[in-house]
């Protein structure tokens, strides 16, 4: 019995448990070939932006389907793993950990709201997993939050507000009032407008902040109406935007002032109805782009065929583009390895659904066109025809903040 002492038992036990811990990793590597390419997709299926999130899922599924129908990559099919982040950054971080650690996803796409996207990004970049963000955020471009695996498919507030400002200020006048939701997104949008306004020499007559989620704007609107500004910029989002535009319309502000929102959401406009008439704003995508852009037509047709004639929303289209960018990069790189796919994404020259797009090298921001649209409720081709495209700012790096300003060292 000398060979079977306590020490030996401990040693054997330690070796056995080490093997048990290592075994799954070994097996995983062996089975990687032929396994589906998994893309984690955390979006807020429940919560204030449920409608947008569900549209993102539907559009993303189209990109997956197209990839698989074309034979996938070396026989490997793609798979979308949708998770509900409940619009909560903590839940999003937990779900991202689940997707990376348990589900072993190859890539991540998703996020709606800046706080959530930054949270997913932080978890993903620490683990070296490619994450393509599909929501508006300025912070994600900045060196502090950027990681080599961070990509930003969506517009950012600087580009969006900038494009809208450059369109509106020369046309409607220089006396500008701001009504902004008092949080990061509102501030970023306002900064974008002010930057764009410097060129045309605007004069800020009022800069009013309202708490996020406010339901009553009657304290702010008379003050603004009394100033009779040429333009009122509403730097808020979602329900805040719908409510503030409705109340501004009731106050008769539209008689003297052009209402401008940095981002006009297709879904918000459909919820807000006629109150939006004449409001100008920016967007990444509007389905009527199909009149001029062939890839938009092809994308819309696929979407209509799959979902009973419905057209994709702006955020929905981003879900499609986010997934497609990653999958196209896999094909170009001929690999799913992170480094190779990062390089392929950096080199991607895409025209997936809205015209040419490419990722800038320093911050991985997608350089793309910004549409300026005006809301309407007359002369509609279909009930979904709610905007007129009044301007397009083409993809150009000079509309972004410089790499230097963002803190990226050359």
């Amino acid at each position: 019995m000398t060979g079977f002492d306590r020490r030996g038992l401990l040693r054997g036990g330690a070796a056995a448990s080490a093997l048990a811990l290592a075994a799954p990793a070994l097996l995983r590597n062996a089975a990687a070939q032929g396994k589906p390419i998994r893309i984690g997709f955390p979006v807020p299926l429940t919560g204030a932006f449920g409608a947008e999130a569900n549209d993102q899922v539907r559009a993303a599924q189209l990109a997956i389907k197209a990839f698989n129908e074309a034979g996938g990559f070396e026989g490997r099919q793609a798979e979308l793993l949708v998770r509900d982040d409940k619009l909560n950054p903590g839940e999003a971080a937990t779900r991202t950990l689940e997707l990376i650690e348990k589900d072993q996803v190859n890539f991540l796409v998703g996020g709606l709201s800046a706080a959530v996207t930054l949270s997913i990004n932080n978890v993903a970049r620490e683990r070296g997993v490619i994450y393509n963000s599909i929501t508006q955020s300025d912070a994600i471009n900045e060196a502090k939050d950027f990681g080599r695996t961070t990509f930003h498919e969506a517009l950012n507030p600087h580009m969006t507000a900038g494009a809208v400002g450059r369109h509106v200020f020369p046309k409607f006048g220089k006396r500008v009032a701001f009504l902004s939701a008092d949080y990061a997104y509102g501030h970023e949008m306002m900064r974008g407008f002010k930057r764009a306004g410097e060129a045309s020499g605007i004069q800020v007559v009022a800069d009013i902040r309202h708490p996020i989620g406010a339901s009553d704007y009657s304290a702010f609107l008379p003050r603004i109406a009394a100033l009779k500004p040429d333009v009122l910029c509403l730097c808020n989002f979602g329900r805040d935007q719908v409510v503030s535009i409705q109340q501004a319309t009731e106050f008769g502000l539209k008689r003297t002032t052009k209402l401008v929102a940095p981002v006009l959401l297709f879904t918000s406009r459909k919820a807000g109805g006629e109150a939006f008439d004449g409001v100008i704003g920016g967007t990444s995508y509007y389905w009527r782009l199909e009149d001029t852009v062939p890839t938009a037509k092809a994308f819309n047709d696929r979407f209509r065929a799959a979902y009973n004639g419905a057209v994709p929303s702006d955020y929905g289209a981003l879900g499609y583009a986010g997934v497609r960018s990653v999958l196209e990069a896999v094909k170009a790189a001929k690999s799913v390895e992170t480094d190779k796919v990062v390089a392929a994404m950096e080199g991607l020259k895409a025209d997936f659904y809205k015209g040419p797009q490419s990722f800038r090298k320093c911050d991985h921001q997608s350089i793309q066109s910004v549409l300026v649209v005006e809301s309407k409720s007359k002369d509609m081709k279909t009930p979904d025809d709610v905007f007129t495209i009044v301007g397009t700012e083409g993809p150009d790096e000079r509309f972004l903040r410089s790499c230097d300003e963002l803190g990226h060292k050359a």
């Binding site: 409940k86 950990l97 689940e98 650690e101 348990k102 949270s119 949080y183």
Partner: protein, 344 residues
């Protein structure tokens, strides 16, 4: 309410007394007495094997952290009889404290845990000193109001806390301690690292409950006037309980910040305070193991139902109502009560 909860608490706090008093329930009593004498070991034994039961490790670590949060809350709610609606300030204070220590000052993670706990303790001292003068519903409202003040202070201090966007970049890929190095990117290692800290806190908590101070707290819960008449400085003891409770919740927050690598501003929101009440009630207020049962039930229910249906809130709500109606002692409280009644 308090009479119902005394039974499990009594068994936990004074293990030797109950079996002798009731000859009929001898065997059960002995088993329960044995179990409650080794309550720390049993709790930890369960938590050691828990990752194999949980759907994924990140969720298991969440449950550990939330369990500690509910445990800290339970010291005040279940053992001292004070219902606070402001404990999110301590969870958030701990989370921001350790997060800021790592992001802005580059402190070692262990020191960051201390920093987070300290910040939460300070907030608890300030809040407690003000709130402890009130009772009952006024105490609940005061703590709620004060915690919202803390929320707005952290919300506005954007350069430190990240404001609405939350604090990011609490990246602790590995933990170097004298003699060895832990790879915290490995979820299993991270779970057990968190468990080591939680285990220490659970042990301290148990020691505290079995001390004369713990007995005095229960005396205050049962009858404040009588406790005062016995010569206890009730107000001071309440304040000390409040601060210790805050410190435990702060430690939970500090662990959460390192676990998730971010601190969302929602951590401080009053709905997070409500979550503590929910978990304590669900598990069984005034029971030692109840908070962990509550945290696990709460998280597993949400996690499971979310993947099944987008109307998960409806089902979670219905299930919670059912718990309150049919298990007023909470899950663990009910288990203890049944065992005691059954007598095997």
């Amino acid at each position: 309410m308090s009479a119902q909860t005394t039974t499990p608490v009594g068994a936990a706090a004074s293990p030797a007394a109950s079996p002798a008093a009731r000859p009929g329930a001898g065997r059960t009593g002995r088993w329960l007495a044995l179990a409650s004498r080794h309550r720390v070991a049993l709790t930890l034994a369960f938590l050691v094997v828990f990752p194999w039961i949980a759907p994924y490790q990140a969720l298991a670590a969440n449950i550990l952290v939330l369990g500690l949060y509910a445990l800290g809350f339970n010291l005040l709610f279940g053992y001292t009889g004070l219902l606070s609606f402001g404990h999110a300030a301590f969870l958030g204070g701990g989370a921001y404290g350790s997060g800021i220590a790592i992001v802005h000052y580059g402190l070692h993670p262990v020191l960051a845990l201390v920093a987070g706990t300290l910040l939460a303790t300070l907030i608890a001292v300030a809040m407690g000193a003000l709130a402890i003068r009130t009772r009952g519903i006024y105490f609940a409202m005061t703590t709620l109001a004060l915690s919202m003040c803390v929320y707005y202070a952290f919300y506005q201090a954007e350069s430190f806390t990240g404001g609405e966007n939350g604090l990011r970049g609490i990246n602790v890929p590995s933990l170097s301690l004298p003699g060895f190095r832990l790879d915290l990117l490995n979820p299993t290692v991270k779970y057990y690292a968190v468990l080591a800290v939680v285990g220490l806190a659970v042990w301290l908590f148990s020691r505290l409950l079995s001390s004369p101070f713990g007995a005095a707290l229960e005396a205050i819960r049962e009858n404040e006037n009588r406790a005062q008449a016995c010569g206890y400085d009730v107000r001071r003891m309440k304040l000390v309980a409040f601060v210790i409770s805050g410190a435990l919740c702060g430690l939970a927050g500090a662990l959460q910040a390192i676990h998730l690598s971010i601190v969302p501003i929602e951590t401080m929101h009053y709905s997070t305070s409500g979550q503590a009440v929910m978990m304590a009630l669900l598990g069984g207020m005034g029971t030692f193991f109840g908070p962990f049962v509550g945290a696990a039930t709460f998280s597993l229910l949400q996690d499971g139902l979310t993947t099944l249906t987008s109307h998960w809130q409806l089902f979670v709500g219905a299930i919670f109502i059912a718990f309150v109606l049919f298990l007023p002692l909470g899950i663990w409280g009910e288990v203890l009560a049944r065992l005691r009644r059954a007598g095997w």
